[in-house]
């Protein structure tokens, strides 16, 4: 893989949660660069701080110490308003439990994201991309888990973000559905050239990324490259 441009960098970031009387460090001194167009997988056991890291990258939370910069912008310097704009225009989120709004149809769940952004994809086009064009009028309760996650991907995509953050996207799915979703994410990365950051506790999945960051006890333990990444069809768990 040729030398790529850094799109986002995490420098010595710590995050400490205050739980009642005690301080719980979730992230300690983590440092990580994310390259434009790469498929980065952050893998670690539960409680290792990977979701915290993802939330910080996505502008959903602020670090206690350290700095996160997206291109030229330091996220921790941003006001709430600018952080909101960052999430709105730069980031697409995919969650483990899909987080669809139960009272909106598949199509409307995609539309909810583009209502507030300028440079967007047609919501129906996004649904077509994930193969759900025929189920646009279904409510989340009428869709299978895999289908719901595909709506969630269409939603993340529709805002035309710079990168997509996936938090255990297959955590609630069976193997077949999981591979389907992962294939879709790899497609997005390869065909649409979207940067994808995926966190998982499942090391089998780490095979499909360009790079893998291993996280333990709140620190980045190691970073390795897969040369070449394994096709999705060949992984299993």
């Amino acid at each position: 893989m040729e030398k790529k441009q850094i799109i986002l960098s995490v420098k010595s970031v710590s995050k400490i949660y205050r739980m009642g009387e005690v301080d719980v460090p979730a992230l300690r001194d983590a440092t990580l660069d994310i390259y434009d167009g790469e498929f980065l997988i952050i893998v670690g056991p539960s409680g290792s701080g990977k979701s915290t890291l993802l939330n910080l990258i996505g502008g959903m939370d602020r670090p206690t110490r350290g700095r996160i910069s997206f291109q030229e912008t330091v996220l921790s310097d941003l006001s709430d308003k600018d952080l909101t704009l960052y999430r709105r225009n730069r980031v697409g989120f995919i969650f483990q439990f899909y987080n669809l709004i139960p009272t909106l149809t598949a199509l409307e769940n995609v539309q909810v994201a583009i209502e507030i952004t300028q440079d967007t994809l047609d919501p129906m086009e996004s649904l077509t991309m994930v193969g759900l064009q025929d189920r646009a009028d279904h409510f989340p309760a009428q869709l299978s888990g895999g289908e719901q996650q595909r709506v969630s991907i269409a939603r993340a995509l529709s805002g035309n973000p710079d990168f997509i953050l996936c938090d255990e996207p297959t955590g609630a799915l069976d193997l077949e559905a999981s591979k389907n979703i992962l294939g879709l994410l790899v497609d997005l990365n390869q065909k649409l050239k979207k940067t994808v950051v995926l966190i998982t506790h499942n090391s089998a999945i780490s095979e499909i990324g360009h790079r893998v960051a291993l996280i333990r006890d709140g620190s980045i333990h190691s970073i390795r490259s897969n040369e070449p990444p394994k096709p999705v069809e060949q992984i299993s768990w």
Partner: protein, 795 residues
């Protein structure tokens, strides 16, 4: 800009909560409806009154005289502060209608021969003005004519002084003087247009018939400064300069009974139009708060997701606040529709009591706008507390499940002796109540407010009933009361005994007097009673007969309060008839009464004060039991000295028909509205607690609980909270009834606070009905809850 997708989400969220939506909107609708209708009626009534008073020149002051020559009117017109005056003849009359055996009391008022604008002008409703060809033409009060089936062309007989005249009705008319048609002497609560007539006769004819040729006995006028202080100065001058003509009475026109009732009604309307809507809207706002806090908690992840998608805190706040706004909007629109309808209904009701031209329900755009603004404001305020907290959450935090609730012991658990003895179900119930103090408090408050409202409504009808039976059954025992023009020797009153069917009589002397104690003064009717009074026995509020001393006065508490007097003090008394000399009279006692400002004295003591011995101007009489013979009434019609005849039972029936029925209807509506508060709040708080504990319900179903078993847990919660609310509500209801009776303590009447124990029970039973209705809906929801799915979702 409205986000269409979020709007769609909002509408679907609301549809899922249709019961909450409907009940809340209903409460808001009632609140806003009360405001719209009452504010509307207030403006209709006050506007109509203002125009009427202005266009028909309702005066500022009234001077009653014995006999003032016509030129004395010119003199008054030249006094400072006097803007316009009119002299007229105002004479009490007995009217004899064809086909009616009893004579009807009334007043005759002089009008110019030709229809020219004058003070206290009349508005012709049918027929014509006097023709000028026939002296004996009369224009009748329109309501009186209608009630008695009289039209232009009808003929009536009327007694003026000692002569009965046959008069031709040429027209019917309304006047600002008799908007509320009761006799100027007052003493009645409700108008009885069939039994009180106003006749307008030509000035010349009336002057001749009343032996007032070239003179008047009343001067009415407009002032430049119509304030009480300015007019008091004017009255001083009038009394001084017109003394030779016998100034009997000077009064502000606004103190005249019709004007006073109208003014009191308007004040009452203004207060009610603020208080009632506030009660409903505050309850709605609190309940909305409970619902929104729950919805926001339920949609925590949705909020996190929206934030992750780039929605700002502001737009999320706006989204959730819109729920309140929608309820405010629907409730507001409903309130406008309902309020406008109720405004029409109220105007129709008011028309039965108040006769005003162009008194119509009008469409007030600004009141609608204010109503809508109030509705929106309350609804939005109701959502803010719940929404604010969630909107400020960091998206990452919103995405995580909420921290577990504090699991500390609830209050009753800290009393182990009590707690250990509780059955399991009651432990669950008490925990749920104490774990949600805000929600439980809102429920208690709503139930308290509803109970207090219901009780005070029921108690108001009891008060009216009590008041009526007190005045007409306990105090008065006479069948008829005959008023005479002037005091006569007491022996002549026995003459009435000679009339057929009269079994006993009792004389009375009623004298209007000015009572003065330093700066405090009041004009009242002092009632002189015989020593062994049997037909009229004034009682104090506890039902004990008042003992009338040989010398001195017994005052009603309200009057003593106004004059700042206590037993043992003396008061300066000046009778307005007879000698009209100031004397000092001792206050022997005070007594709590319900109607008017009474003062009692011994009949001979009072006679002496007006320079007579044993005089009387009222004769009360009883007929032999079970006689329907009324021929004596016929005989009374022709007595020149008789100015009024009142039948006790008729007055009672009349009062019951007008006041009683209206009050009954209004109070039933009030009970229904208050019940809706209870229904709506119980339904909503229980729905919220049901939605929070769906998993618990699911788990209990798995464990083999039937829907009825589970309902019992939820209704148990409701039971505890509402029993507390109802009990507190009854206490507040009693206090409310007491404070209402204080608030309605006017010179005209004082409402007793009546608290019957069975009413308390009835009030609680009504509450149980409304609460059970809400519980039935909850039971249906528990029965149809898809509990297996609820459990699956959480896996």
């Amino acid at each position: 800009m409205v986000n269409r997708i979020l709007l769609r989400k909002l509408l679907r969220d609301l549809l899922q909560r249709k019961w909450s939506l409907v009940s809340l909107c209903l409460i808001v609708t009632i609140g806003i409806g009360c405001y719209i209708s009452m504010a509307g009626v207030y403006r209709d009534l006050s506007g109509s009154k203002k125009r009427y008073y202005q266009n028909y020149r309702f005066p500022d002051f009234i001077v009653d005289l014995k006999r003032a020559p016509e030129w004395a009117v010119e003199e008054v017109a030249s006094f400072p502060n006097v803007r316009a005056v009119r002299g007229r003849v105002n004479f009490s009359t007995l009217i004899d209608l064809p086909g009616k055996d009893e004579p009807i009391s009334g007043v005759s008022i002089s009008m110019p021969e030709t229809n020219t604008p004058v003070l206290n002008d009349i508005l012709l409703m049918s027929g014509t003005w006097f023709s000028g060809e026939n002296d004996k033409e009369v224009i009748l009060n329109d309501a009186f004519a209608q009630e008695n089936g009289l039209y232009p062309g009808s003929r009536i007989k009327a007694l003026l002084l000692d002569k009965q005249h046959e008069l031709l009705v040429v027209g019917t008319a309304k006047s600002p003087e008799f908007v509320y048609l009761i006799s100027p002497g007052g003493g009645e609560l409700a108008p009885d247009p069939a039994r009180f007539g106003v006749m307008y006769l030509t000035e010349r004819f009336l002057q001749e018939s009343c032996e007032l040729e070239g003179a008047f006995n009343q001067i009415i006028g407009l002032a430049h400064d119509s304030s009480r202080t300015a007019l008091t100065a004017t009255f001083g001058l009038i009394k001084e300069k017109l003394d030779p003509y016998g100034v009997l009475n000077t009064s502000l026109a606004e103190d005249q009974p019709s004007a006073r009732y109208l003014a009191d009604e308007l004040t009452g309307l203004k207060i009610t139009s603020t208080v009632m809507p506030s009660i409903f809207l505050i309850v709605a706002a609190l309940v909305l708060n409970v619902i929104m806090s729950r919805m926001v908690a339920q949609q925590r992840t949705v909020i996190g997701t929206l934030k992750a998608l780039g929605y700002s805190s502001g737009s999320i706040t706006r989204h959730y606040v819109s729920y309140g706004a929608i309820i405010g909007l629907i409730g507001g629109l409903g309130g406008i529709a309902f309020g406008y309808w109720a405004q029409g209904a109220l105007v129709t009701l008011y028309r039965e009591f108040y006769t005003l031209p162009d008194f119509e329900p009008h469409f007030y755009f600004d009141i609608f706008l204010i109503g809508m603004a109030i509705s929106l404001a309350f609804a939005v305020l109701g959502t803010l507390k719940g929404v604010h907290h969630a909107a400020l959450l960091e998206p990452a935090e919103a995405m995580r499940p909420p921290p577990p609730e504090k699991g500390g012991k609830v209050l009753p658990e800290r009393i182990p002796f009590f707690w250990r003895r509780l059955p399991f179900r009651w432990k669950m119930i008490l925990r749920a109540i104490f774990r949600n103090p805000f929600r439980s408090s809102v429920n208690v408050l709503a139930s308290l407010v509803a109970t207090a409202l219901i009780f005070s409504a029921l108690s108001m009808t009891d008060s009216l009933d009590y008041l009526m039976s007190y005045e007409f059954e306990k105090v008065s025992h006479q069948d008829i009361t005959v008023s005479l023009r002037d005091p006569k020797d007491i022996t002549t009153t026995r003459e009435m005994l000679l009339l057929p069917t009269i079994s006993e009589t009792e004389p009375q002397l009623a004298v209007a007097c000015d009572l003065k104690n330093g700066p405090y003064q009041k004009r009242v009717g002092v009632m002189g009673l015989v020593r062994n009074n049997r037909l009229y026995t004034p009682l104090d509020k506890d039902g004990n007969p008042i003992v009338i001393p040989e010398r001195g006065l017994v005052l009603s508490k309200k009057l003593a309060e106004i004059l700042n007097l206590a037993p043992g003090d003396t008061v300066t008394l000046r009778p307005l008839i007879g000698l009209r000399k100031e004397v000092l009279s001792p206050i022997v006692g005070t007594v709590d009464t319900f109607l008017g400002l009474s003062a009692y004295a011994n009949i001979n003591y009072l006679s002496n004060l007006i320079g007579e011995e044993w005089a009387a101007n009222v004769i009360m009489g009883n007929t032999f039991q079970r006689t329907s013979e009324r021929s004596f009434l016929d005989k009374l019609k022709l007595r020149p000295t008789v100015t009024g005849i009142r039948e006790r039972t008729r007055a009672l029936i009349q009062l019951d028909e007008t006041f009683g029925e209206t009050m009954g209807t209004m109070m039933s509506i009030m009970v229904l509205f208050a019940g809706l508060i209870a229904f709506g709040s119980v339904l909503n708080t229980t729905l919220v607690s049901l939605s929070e504990r769906q998993r618990e319900v699911g788990t209990l179903r798995v464990l083999g609980y039937s829907p009825a078993n589970i309902s019992r847990i939820f209704s148990g919660e409701s039971l505890v909270v509402n029993v507390v609310g109802i009990l507190l509500g009854l206490v507040f209801g009693i206090l409310l009834a007491k404070s209402l009776s204080l608030a309605y303590s006017t010179e005209l009447y004082r409402f007793p606070a009546i608290v019957y124990p069975w009413r308390l029970v009835m009030c609680a039973a009504i509450m149980v009905v409304f609460i059970s209705a809400a519980q039935l809906i909850i039971y249906r929801l528990i029965r149809t809850l898809k509990w297996l799915e609820v459990l699956k979702i959480m896996e």
